[in-house]
Symmetry: C2
Subunit: 391 residues, 2 copies
């Protein structure tokens, strides 16, 4: 019995020519955890997965791109179940042990004839790679997103692998963001779920620049069952290290999504410091990140601090002293005491903003809460990509 | 003694060559009401006006464009007061009877030498026009915004005039939206304030697509004191007619701002019907209007209903049944029962979306609350205008 994840990539024919489906074979000894969208119009596979994962230990993940199977009603749900039945029969397992993930256009039924024909006739060899899989799940993505990393736990080398799809500006009609991660550890499901939730909260949940979850957003993690002898239960320091490593790994994947960003040229990290409440810091982060005036200024490398301060000032019910706020762009002080900073080095600032990454740090000086999010700039290419999508 | 408003336009030299200031002479018998921004970084003149209008009946309004005098600290406030002192001396009235409005770039001090030189040496004739004034208050506006209308109250012809400045996407760094309205009626200040508040709530407050008020937003209305003999106190029907006319007048001005919209090609009216709460309807309106994916789809005349439904679904704590929601675009049913509408006439829909105005009607079917806002599309020209503004 193997403790390795095995991967198959398929070409169903939903997208033109390219591979458009992936099947992941989960080791018998593995555990799987899942986080998925809270959107009221969650896609059929999302709804089915939520039921299946609580009752069963998944054996296969099946992912299709090109069609989100969202807003597809009862037929959509019937189709999802039929996919799992076809796969169950083919792969000789219970249909409840198959999780399904769909990404692509909303409101169209899955091409069931193509899918059933493919599943029935395809010879599953499970000899494909993560890289090939990461290409197969792409939709509007400009590039495939795969990462692997080795971490040390004591003297053991532990492998983390992961792939994701999605673009920084988050594209609700393209079923948004999917991520799949594996870690070569033996972890119980409860612990794995906790680790995943923490990692997602500090990574994928800190980039969605529209501030919402789409109809199909899902992140799954598999602890393969390897390295059972580490006996992690009694090793809080090791668990803490695993937690931090997973957060960093997910942040790196999330950063790739922001970088993709449908025409994006820059990654901007916005951090609100010293707020009285975490929820305030979060609200300010999103308000700035979602401001088109801010996003276009970043595209133009324009140190237009007035847009940040005016946005802050426009938010009600946030407790701070307007005269005490400090704003830094790329570590250069630009605003304090309610007026532009006197010694701000505009030339240095302009030059630094032409780089690919920009840091916005806003200090409310009214508490200890902090929140940080990553976003991309708003470019003409974004408009071009998104103005004629379904037609 | 005249009951007519008199207007002077000036060229201080803040903007290149063009007139950049307006002085409005208010009849002695008039009343004036004012609504202004709640932004925590409200500009110096906004703060001073709030004090002066409660204590005095304004005699002059003075407006400068090109400099917002926002985020300018104590110096900014001193400069505002000095402007009112210079004008008071020149025009022979108390400085507290002068309201000042500034619009333009944030964070720079007013050019006081230019201003004082101009006010001291200028010969005020008050023989300019509303149209000329509407041009003088422009900043990034693509066109000047002036309207006049005659309404009938009984057998009397009543004139309403108004001008405004601002662009649909609301430009916090350009001090946003100013509007000045006159109506040839004799109204007490309390009643005038109530009328203004209602009119602004249904017009200018329903267009700001960033969802906020900028540092300098202000709307002033002058009831000139004419037609005193109408004796409106005891005529509820006439008052109700005035209220409706003022709402419509302000909506027409607001629509000109949306039309300007920094590169905008379309005006989109989003209406949320049958919500259980007004606040829910409002939140959904803004969420859709602020979605870049939605705005770019409108630019491309793309009937991408999935972006609207996915955005609705992403909002938490709103009470409705996802399966009961109905969506119409330009009166054509596109979504019901959780799936795309079967008979939706896509060709007809595509053609209708190529027109300048688009109506989005979303029915939650869960109550009686309704809210409507106007927004513009997101275009490449918008990015161009806003990406290199201060540099």
């Amino acid at each position: 019995m193997s403790n390795k994840i095995e991967i198959e990539t398929l070409n169903i024919g939903i997208k033109n020519g390219r591979n458009d489906a992936v099947c992941i074979n989960i080791p018998d000894d593995a555990t799987t955890a899942l986080v998925s969208t809270k959107n009221k119009y969650a896609a059929a596979p999302v709804i089915l997965n939520k039921i299946n994962i609580t009752k069963n230990n998944p054996k296969y993940l099946f992912i299709n791109s090109g069609n989100a199977n969202a807003c597809t009603g009862k037929t959509g749900m019937r189709n999802t179940i039929e996919c799992t039945m076809l796969l169950a029969k083919k792969l000789n397992c219970q249909k409840e042990k198959i999780l399904m993930f769909s990404t692509g256009i909303i409101g169209r039924q899955l091409p069931m004839k193509l899918i059933s024909k493919k599943i029935i006739n395809h010879s599953f060899k499970f000899n494909s790679s993560w890289i090939s899989a990461s290409k197969s799940i792409m939709t509007t993505d400009a590039f495939n997103k795969y990462l692997n990393k080795t971490i040390m736990l004591g003297k053991k080398k532990i492998s983390i692998k992961g792939m994701c799809k999605g673009a920084g500006m988050i594209e609700p009609n393209m079923a948004t963001m999917l991520a799949f991660i594996s870690i070569d550890l033996h972890l119980n499901k409860t612990l794995l779920s906790q680790l995943l939730k923490k990692a997602v909260d500090s990574s994928f949940n800190c980039i969605s620049v529209d501030g919402d979850m789409s109809t199909n957003d899902s992140v799954a993690i598999i602890a393969t069952g390897e390295n059972k002898d580490l006996n992690l239960k009694n090793k809080p320091q090791m668990l803490s290290k695993i937690e931090n490593e997973l957060i960093q790994f997910c942040q790196s994947l999330a950063k790739m999504i922001v970088k993709d960003g449908e025409g994006a040229t820059k990654i901007i990290t916005i951090t609100i410091h010293q707020a009285s409440k975490k929820s305030d810091a979060k609200r300010i982060c999103y308000a700035i990140a979602n401001s088109n005036l801010f996003k276009t200024a970043m595209f133009g490398a324009d140190p237009n601090w007035g847009r940040i301060i005016a946005k802050l000032g426009s938010l009600d019910n946030i407790d701070y002293d307007a005269g005490k706020v400090i704003l830094k762009i790329n570590q250069i002080l630009v605003f304090e005491k309610g007026i532009p900073a006197k010694n701000s080095n505009l030339n240095k600032l302009n030059a630094s903003m032409k780089q690919k990454e920009i840091a916005i740090d806003l200090y409310l000086r009214n508490g200890k809460a902090i929140h940080s999010i990553m976003t991309s700039d708003l470019t003409k290419k974004y408009i071009h990509i998104n103005s004629t999508y379904t037609t």
